[in-house]
C-alpha cells in the first residue's frame, strides 16, 4: 500500500511538469484559439538559454530568470512576426505554421548547441524528507510548489488585474474589446509571451531530470497535450487536474504494468487523448463550443 501511495506522489511530481506546459497550451488556445504544436520546442529552447547562461558563469537562479525572460520576449516576437498574419486563417494553415515553428526551433537548437546531450544543473538540493513511510525529495516538493505558485499567480493576474481583464476580454470578444479601447494585438502578444514563460518553466524543470538535447520535449509535449485535452483545452483548472491524472496514471502503469515495456508507456497518454476526444471532446472542465450557423 505504501508503494502505491509513493507512486501516486511521484506521479503528481511529473504531473506538475505536464500541467505547467499544459497551462501554456491552454493559455494560447484561449487567447488566440491556436494549438501551439511548437510549445515543447520553445520550452527546449528556454532550457538551452539557461544552460548557456550557466555555462557563461551566471548564477543558477539568475540563469533561470534570464531564460524565462528571454523566452517571453521570443514568444511575443513569434506572435508578432509570424502567428499574427495567419491567426484568422483556417485551421489547416494555423496547424501547418505551428509545425513550421516546431521545426524552426528544433533545428535552431541543433544548429546552435549541437545534437549531443548536455546536462542542466538542478535548482533543488539533493535532500529528501520522509512523512510517515512516504519519501518526498526536494525536487518533487519544489516542482509542486512552483506549480502552485504559477497557478495562484495566473489566477490573480487573470481575475484581479486590469491587464488580466483586458486579456480575457480580447479573447472572448475581440471586436467589443477593441471598441472599449483594449489594444487587441498587444493583448494577443502578451498572451503568447506569458505562455512562452510558462513553457520555459516546464523546460527548466524537465532539463535537469532528463538530459538536454533538441528533442528533449518530444514526449513531454504529448503528455502536456494529454493533460490539456483531458482538462478540456479551455480550462486552466482542467490543465492542472489533467496533468495530475496523466502523471499519476503514468507512474501507476510503470509500476504495475511492467510488461508494457518502456516503448509502449507512451501509448497510455495517447489512449487518454483518444478516449477523451471520442467520448467527451469538451473534456472534464471544458465548455461546450456552440457554433452559430
Amino acid at each position: 500500500m505504501q508503494y502505491f501511495f509513493q507512486q501516486i506522489v511521484n506521479g503528481i511530481g511529473d504531473g506538475a511538469i505536464y500541467a505547467s506546459l499544459g497551462l501554456a497550451l491552454v493559455l494560447i488556445y484561449r487567447t488566440t484559439n491556436i494549438a501551439n504544436f511548437a510549445q515543447g520546442e520553445m520550452a527546449t529552447f528556454s532550457a538551452y538559454i539557461a544552460w548557456q547562461m550557466v555555462d557563461w558563469g551566471v548564477p543558477l537562479w539568475w540563469s533561470f530568470l534570464i531564460a524565462i525572460a528571454v523566452s517571453m520576449v521570443v514568444g511575443v516576437l513569434a506572435y508578432l512576426l509570424l502567428v499574427r498574419s495567419v491567426q484568422h486563417r483556417d485551421e489547416l494553415t494555423i496547424v501547418i505554421v505551428t509545425l513550421g515553428l516546431f521545426l524552426a526551433f528544433n533545428s535552431f537548437d541543433g544548429a546552435m548547441w549541437g545534437f549531443l546531450q548536455l546536462s542542466l544543473p538542478s535548482p533543488f538540493p539533493e535532500k529528501s524528507f520522509a512523512i510517515g513511510a512516504l519519501r518526498f525529495n526536494a525536487e518533487l516538493l519544489g516542482t509542486i510548489m512552483i506549480l502552485i505558485a504559477i497557478s495562484i499567480g495566473m489566477f490573480l493576474l487573470l481575475q484581479h488585474t486590469r491587464l488580466g481583464t483586458a486579456l480575457r476580454a480580447s479573447a472572448s470578444n475581440a471586436t467589443s474589446a477593441m471598441l472599449v479601447g483594449i489594444p487587441f494585438t498587444a493583448m494577443m502578444a502578451i498572451g503568447w509571451g506569458l505562455a512562452a514563460g510558462l513553457g520555459a518553466v516546464s523546460g527548466l524543470l524537465v532539463g535537469p531530470k532528463l538530459t538536454l538535447d533538441p528533442n528533449m520535449m518530444g514526449a513531454i509535449i504529448i503528455y502536456a497535450f494529454a493533460a490539456a485535452v483531458v482538462g478540456g483545452l479551455t480550462s486552466y483548472r482542467g490543465a492542472v487536474v489533467g496533468g495530475a491524472i496523466v502523471g499519476i496514471s503514468q507512474a501507476l502503469s510503470m509500476a504495475y504494468l511492467p510488461w508494457l515495456g518502456s516503448d509502449l508507456q507512451i501509448l497510455l497518454p495517447l489512449m487518454l487523448i483518444v478516449a477523451v476526444l471520442i467520448i467527451k471532446p469538451e473534456g472534464l472542465f471544458g465548455s461546450t463550443v456552440v457554433i452559430r450557423v
Partner: protein, 363 residues
C-alpha cells in the same frame, strides 16, 4: 451545381482544352515509359522514389487538400502499408504485386476505422488524434521486434525481374511502380474530376452548405480518409520494395510533417501538386541533409511557413491560377471587342471567375 456552368465554357474552346490535356498526358506517359532506356540506373531508382512518394502525397492531398482535414498520421499508414507488404511476402510467400494489393486493403480498412472518429472531429482535434497515430508507430514497431526487426529494421528482397527482361532490376521496379502510379493517378483524377470532386470542395468550404445540397458529408469524409490512407499504404509498400529496407526511423512524425510540407509546396487540392510533392520529398531531404543535420529541419520549417504565408496555393495552384486569370482576361477582351452589344455585368464576371477557380482546383 450545373447552374454555375456558363455556356461559353462548354463550347469549342473547352473541347480544345480537353484534347490538349489528353495529348499532354499521352506524351508524358511516353516519356515516362522511355526514361529507363536513356537515364542511368541510379536516376531510374530516384525517379521510382519520386513516384512512390507522389502516390502517398496524393493520398494526403485527398484528405487535407480536397476535404480540408488536417492529418498528421500519414506516416502511420505509410508504415502500416510497408510492413503489411513486407510481412505478407515473408509469411504468406505472395508475389510482390499481390503484397502491394494486400497492403492497400489493410491500410484502407485501418483508414476507414481511423476515419470514423475523424468524421466527428474538425481541425485542431483531428490534428491531435492523428498526432496520436503518428507517434504510436515507432514504439509499436519496436515492441513487435520479432516480426519487424525492431529498431534495427529488416532487409527486404527487392522484386526480381523475369528472365526476358534485360534492362536490370531498377528498371523492372520502375515499371512496376509506374504501372501502379499511372492507374492510381488516373482513378483519383476521375474521382475528383466529377461530382465527387465538387462535393469534396463543398465539404471543405462549408459542411453545412454541402449537406443541405444533399452531400452525405460523413460518408464521404470516411471514404476519403480510407482512400487517402490506402494510397499512403500503397506508396509505403512500393517505396519499401524500391529501397529494399524497412526500419522505424523512416516512419517518424517527421515523415508526416514532410508530407504536409510537400503537398503545401506542390499545391493543396491539385493532382499535379502531388507529383511536385513527390519530387520535393525525393530530392530536398537529401540535399538539405548534405548541409548538416540541423539544416533539413530548418528547410522544412522555413518552407512550411513561407508557403503558408506567401504562397498558399503552392506551385501548381499558383500556376493554375495564373493560367485561369489569363484565360478569363482573354475571354473578357474577346467579349468586349467582338460583340459590343453583349452585357458583361459584374455579377457575370464573378461567376466566370468562380467557375474558373473551381475547374482550376479540380484539375
Amino acid at each position: 451545381m450545373s447552374s454555375i456552368e456558363i455556356p461559353a465554357m462548354q463550347s469549342a474552346p473547352r473541347g480544345e482544352v480537353v484534347a490538349t490535356k489528353i495529348g499532354v498526358g499521352f506524351v508524358l506517359v511516353l516519356i515516362l515509359l522511355g526514361m529507363p532506356l536513356v537515364i542511368p540506373e541510379y536516376q531510374t531508382f530516384q525517379l521510382t522514389g519520386v513516384m512512390t512518394y507522389a502516390v502517398a502525397a496524393l493520398g494526403l492531398n485527398l484528405i487535407t487538400g480536397y476535404v480540408g482535414q488536417v492529418s498528421l498520421g500519414h506516416n502511420a499508414f505509410f508504415a502500416l502499408g510497408s510492413y503489411a507488404a513486407v510481412l505478407s511476402v515473408v509469411y504468406l510467400g505472395v508475389n510482390d504485386v499481390v503484397a502491394v494489393l494486400i497492403a492497400a486493403v489493410v491500410t484502407f480498412i485501418f483508414g476507414v476505422l481511423a476515419g470514423y472518429p475523424a468524421k466527428r472531429l474538425r481541425g485542431l482535434y483531428l490534428a491531435l488524434i492523428t498526432l496520436v497515430l503518428a507517434v504510436s508507430v515507432v514504439p509499436l514497431v519496436k515492441q513487435f521486434k520479432a516480426y519487424t526487426g525492431g529498431a534495427a529494421g529488416l532487409m527486404v528482397d527487392k522484386p526480381v525481374p523475369p528472365a526476358w527482361f534485360t534492362l536490370g532490376q531498377d528498371a523492372w521496379i520502375y515499371y512496376m511502380v509506374l504501372a501502379f502510379t499511372l492507374v492510381i493517378f488516373w482513378l483519383v483524377r476521375n474521382f475528383v474530376g466529377g461530382s465527387n470532386g465538387r462535393a469534396l470542395a463543398g465539404i471543405r468550404e462549408s459542411e453545412l452548405a454541402a449537406s443541405s445540397m444533399g452531400v452525405d458529408v460523413n460518408r464521404l469524409k470516411v471514404i476519403v480518409f480510407g482512400v487517402g490512407s490506402m494510397l499512403a499504404g500503397v506508396g509505403g509498400a512500393l517505396a519499401t520494395f524500391t529501397i529494399g529496407f524497412i526500419g522505424p526511423d523512416s516512419f517518424t512524425l517527421m515523415l508526416s510533417i514532410s508530407f504536409l510540407a510537400a503537398i503545401v509546396v506542390g499545391g493543396l487540392g491539385t493532382i499535379w501538386g502531388a507529383l511536385v510533392a513527390g519530387l520535393f520529398l525525393q530530392f530536398v531531404p537529401s540535399y538539405a541533409s548534405d548541409l548538416g543535420q540541423a539544416f533539413s529541419g530548418a528547410v522544412y520549417g522555413g518552407i512550411l511557413i513561407a508557403c503558408m504565408t506567401l504562397m498558399p496555393n503552392g506551385i501548381v495552384g499558383s500556376l493554375l491560377k495564373i493560367a485561369s486569370n489569363r484565360r478569363e482576361a482573354r475571354k473578357a477582351a474577346d467579349r468586349t471587342a467582338g460583340k459590343g452589344a453583349e452585357k458583361t455585368t459584374v455579377a457575370e464576371k464573378t461567376t466566370v471567375k468562380a467557375a474558373a477557380d473551381r475547374t482550376a482546383r479540380a484539375t
